[in-house]
Structures are given as C-alpha cells and as structure tokens.
Symmetry: C2
Subunit: 377 residues, 2 copies
C-alpha cells in the first residue's frame, strides 16, 4: 500500500491550503486551470492508509469541522461528531475536511483571483456542480496520498457530496454516511434557493457580482437570503418551543416595525452575522450547484444505476421534523440502494430541531454513526 | 327592522368608496380622523335586512371578490365561491366585500393622503390590527344600514377577520365561515413575514417608506417578499406536480443564473406581477397586523373566552396540504368553540394545492360552505 506519511508531513494539520494543478474539467464544460483547496486534517494516517475519513460540509459550512472558525472564533461546526471520544475520533481516524469548490473559506470560488486576469472571478467563475466539488476533493486526496476512504460522512449538502462520492468513486469509498439529505433538489428546495438568489441580486450593491473592490457588498440582500433559508432549517414546532409569540424584553407590542417578537430579532441576527462570514457570490454558486443536483439524472434517470455494483456500505439518517429534506427523500435513496444490491441501513430519528438536527444535540445520531463506523471498520 | 333600501341606492354596487367620519380609535392607541373605505356589493338587501353576507379578503386580496380587478383585468378573486349558482349567490344574498384598512385598493392605508399634512401617510400611518380592520368594516356596515349579518366568510387572513367579527360583534354575526385560517400567528408565520418585511426595507428605493414621490418604489424588495410568501401558499407536493425539476423551454441546463427551472421563472413572475398591483408599505402594515393577531391574548389568554355566550354558528374548514395554517390551527379553534359552548362544525378537506386551496378548484369546499349557509339560513 502507500508509504506512511512522516508525522511532520506539512500537508497535514489545521488551516492547510494547497494549489493543485489543473485543468479540472467541470460538468458545465468550462475548466479551471488550477484549484486552490483549503482544508484541515485531524489525527494520524495509518501505515496502510485505511483509517481516512472524509467529512463533507453543508452549504455555508467550511473546513473547520473541529477547530475554531478564524473569523467568528466559534468552535468547529461538528464538534459533537468529530473529536476525542466522538464517533469520528482523531485517536482512531485520519480526518479530512475541505472547503468546497465555489465557497469562500480558501478554496477556489468567485472571490478568488482569476489567474488569467489578475482580478476576482466574480460571476465569471464557472457554474459548478456537486460532482465538480467531489472531483476537486478527489484531487486533494490524491495530493494527500489517500486512495481509499474508510468513510465519507456528511449532512445536508454534505450528504449529497457523500452520494456523489459513492457514485463517482465507488472503489475509493468503503462506507458512506448520508444524514438529512436527498438525491436531488425538489421544486420547493429550488424555489427557496431562488428567493435567496433573487434577494442577493436585487441588492444594488451586488453590482452584477463585481462588488469586491467596493466599500459595500450586497449585505442586505444576503441577510434576507439567509433569513429565508434559516426558517427552512428549523421545524415549526422547534420555532414555537424556542420563541413562540414571546416578545422582546419590552413588556408589550410597540405598534411599530422594530423587532417586537423574539423570533424576529433572532432571524435578523442570523442574517446579519451570516454576511460577516460569507461571500454573496459563493452563496449564488453553491445554491445553484445544489439546485442542479439530481443524481438519478446523472445516471440515465434511474437512481439505482448510480450505485450498481457498489461495494460501499451505506448508512442513511433522516429526522422526523426535517421538512427541507424530509424522510421520504432518504427513503427514496434507500429504495434505490436496495434495488442496486448495495448494503444500506436507514433510520429516521425523532428530533425537534428540523433540518438542523444533524448539527445539534441528538445523542441518537451519534450512537447510530458510531455503531455504523465501528461495524464497518 | 330596517327600511328596505331603494333599489337605486347609490351606496350599493361595484367600485363604491365612502369617507366615514372618525375618529376611529385603534388598538395601538392612535386614531384616524376619518376612514375611506373602498367596497363592492352584489345582490339586493332583503326588506328585513337578513340576507347580508360579508366577505373578508386575505393579505393581498381586495374588494373585487366577483368583479374584474381594475389594474390587472383579471376576474374577481373568489368567483368560485361568489356568483350566480355559487354558495354565496347575489340572487339570494346581499354580498359586501371591503378593502381592508391598511391596504391599497382604495381604503385608508399608508399610501393615502394624511388629511393633517396633505401628503401620503407612508410610515406615519398608525400600525393597525385585525380588530381595527374589523372595526372599520363595522362602520361601513353601519353606513350601509346593515346591522345583522347572515354570515361572515373568509379564508386565510379573511378567516382571522371572521373570528374577530364573531368575537367583537357577536350579536351581529349569525354564522361564521373560517377557511384555512388560525386564531394567532405562529413563530414560523411571523418569521416568514419578517423576511418579507426585511426584503422590502432592505431595498434602497424603500427610503423609509417615503417613495410615493419617487420614480422608483421598492419593487425589487417587494418582489422578493412575494416570492418567499408565495412558496408558503403552495404545498411541496403541489409544486412537484406542477413543476418538478422541469427545465424551461431550453433543452438542458444553461450553467448560468437565468431561470433554468420552470419553478424559478414561475416564482419570478409571481414576484414581478405582484409589484404592479400592490403597495409595499401596505404589505408591511398588513403583515404586521397578522403577526400581532392572537385572539386568545385579546381575551385574557383563553381562546374560548373570545366566544363565551356566542350564538353564532361556526363552520371551519382546513386543508390537509396547508402547512402555513395547518389543520391543527383550525382544530385549536374548534376546541375553544366547544369549550365555550358555541355551535361549530369542522372539516379537513383533502386538496393538493396547499394554503391556496381555498382559492382554487376544490369542489368539496363549495359543497361544505353551501350546505352550511343553507342550513344556517
């Protein structure tokens, strides 16, 4: 197998970034002459390279799965899943998480400098797909000397990448964990994303995407986009439990347009804090990639054909309160896996948090993933 | 009882408008010195005045319930319910529908001229409640010489007004038909409305509401608000049936940001056509009134107390695919009516169209309302 990497291998660790030679040909027909990828690794790669786990992040996620976010200072976004004593444990696993293509945390995206012009791509960045994201990750793994993955794991858009990994590189993926996800974007999913894109593009500060040299970006539009999306990440019951119709500190309604209800100020905060950490054009590109995602369509219209002959073991998890990617979407994937003869386990968990359950305190999720990964190992 | 009005009573007919003397004291403490109300009537008031039916419209509705909209030329918004041979029939009923307070189709609202200043109120218009809307309608009915209503009927925000009518003027309402509605706005309802308001107010052309003298109003923001709201009016299954992931006339994805999917161009069209017919500030005021709506809170926290001793007969209808005001909201109203001893019938209808089912071709709805109104007569 592979030679064990030196312990001081400078490719490994936190806050890594690499420029990989291209060209990377994209599903849309364009190609990138080179690809920068920002990533992190945790733990040590086994001598036989068999303990590598790739984690795929969601729409607005990043590579800081278990380390502090450099801009917000907040802990990693999946410290419940990744860390000492957790289902994905650097004491046992060699963990890789890379910022996806099109994003804004160091990997090539619309805010990157176009080598051909010396200025940011902006909307000249090619439209990408989830498969393009996965191809870029595969190039990174080649660079890291990792051929085979013990597991690819992700929730939401991360789960879509896991499916693409299993479909595109079946020989490289021993097990696949797909949480709160879907094999294609529904009309309602597309509709919500389109609202967000229109909110960004309606902001005069968006300037056709050419705002990188301006004092002001399309913050107001991006905040509105985030607010709309955020509602879809939560359940109606969860919002009611958390906020109900409770007013802000004030004792009664103001009969004005300030945030009277706690849920209003919560949403406004979600919108405003998002624009500090995310690039509006990246939001356009990644939502577009998600809307284009339809794994069955990529395989002649039959989802089972995406997994035909696959030796990968699959674990699917959905949440009963998730109305963005409801259980029926996971079930459709399981049916396709069964039809293709692939090994699949599936559980719908009860959790009150809606789609965001995969990020939150749902102990059963971590037990399920831990059990699956140990059994698969 | 009342004297029968002359057949050529100029108060009655299409496209009526009246200025009623105030002051009308509002729930927020402010008062309006006079109130303009735009309304329509259909049919003839019986000699004993017993056949009057008031129809209450929804958020972006208007008084043109069964006549062509003056700006769009489209037929009235509820010609399935109101018309010859329909459940509410001008051959039998004297039908009144008024544009709600705060709206923009002729009734006093933020676009109206403030008599104190001679310029449009804009955001100096007082924040109103659903009860204020109903109080203004009561003034109109006084003006029309209608004391007693055979029925008050409405869907969505119209249904909320029906509930307010029954709670505020129980002696005037013989029967009440509440369709696809709720007795309060949930946290999720408020959240979606807040996204819409922020979209409007983020548009630089909104100018703090002072756009009436400008060439451009906040069209882009209002269109985004409408797009987000429109998704909540439809069901996921309905969107999938209607659009699925079908592309526009083009044969394949464009790998760009034009509307590739039919659902995208449909939503864009919904947003754009809305701004031609609706005032952005009215959208702010009416959504605010809906978010403030909590009938239990107005009655000491107990919804049943809103109907205590009521002689009104209630008919409630919900739709199984309505996730904006789901069946549970109607059921909570029915429980309160039962607890208060009021007569209530309730049915959940199966229809694929989501919240908008009350406006669409659901024959069972019209049978239910027809049967109820005939039994109540």
């Amino acid at each position: 197998m592979l030679a064990a990497p030196a312990l001081d291998d400078r490719r490994f660790g936190l806050n890594r970034r690499v420029t990989l030679p291209g060209p990377l040909t994209l599903d849309g027909g364009a190609s990138l002459s080179q690809i920068e990828i920002a990533y992190e690794t945790y733990g040590t790669l086994d001598a036989d390279g068999a303990n590598a786990v790739l984690i795929c992040h969601a729409l607005t996620g990043d590579q800081h799965v278990a380390s502090a976010h450099p801009r917000t200072g907040k802990p990693g976004w999946w410290t419940r899943m990744v860390g000492e004593g957790k289902p994905i444990d650097p004491a046992r696993h060699f963990i890789v998480c890379a910022n996806v293509l099109g994003s804004c945390m160091g990997t090539s995206g619309p805010a990157s400098i176009d080598p051909a012009t010396g200025v940011p791509f902006a909307m000249r960045f090619p439209v990408i797909t989830l498969r393009d994201m996965v191809r870029a990750q595969a190039l990174l793994l080649d660079h890291l000397g990792i051929w085979n993955l013990a597991a690819v794991v992700g929730g939401s858009m991360g789960g879509m990448q896991v499916l693409e990994w299993a479909a595109t590189y079946p020989a490289r993926v021993r097990s696949a964990v797909v949480i709160a996800s879907a094999a294609r974007h529904s009309a309602q999913n597309i509709a919500f994303h389109e609202v967000g894109r229109q909110a960004v593009m309606a902001d005069p500060n968006w300037r056709g995407g050419q705002y990188y040299e301006s004092k002001e970006g399309p913050s107001a539009g991006l905040a509105v986009a985030r607010m709309a999306a955020h509602i879809t990440y939560l359940s109606e019951a969860g919002l009611t439990d958390k906020f109900g119709r409770r007013l802000q500190a004030r004792e009664s309604k103001t009969f004005g347009f300030d945030a009277d209800f706690q849920v209003e100020s919560y949403l406004r905060h979600q919108g405003l804090s998002f624009v500090d950490r995310f690039d509006a054009n990246s939001y356009l590109y990644i939502t577009r990639a998600m809307d284009y995602f339809d794994l069955a369509e990529e395989h002649g219209g039959r989802l089972a054909d995406a997994f035909r002959g696959s030796k990968t073991r699959f674990c699917l998890v959905s949440f009963d309160s998730d109305w963005l990617y409801p259980t029926a979407e996971s079930r459709a994937i399981v049916h396709a896996l069964n039809a293709s003869g692939a090994a699949a386990s599936f559980v719908e968990l009860s959790a009150p948090f809606g789609h965001d359950s995969f990020l939150l305190d749902v102990p059963e999720l971590f037990r399920v993933v831990d059990g699956f990964l140990r059994a698969a190992a």
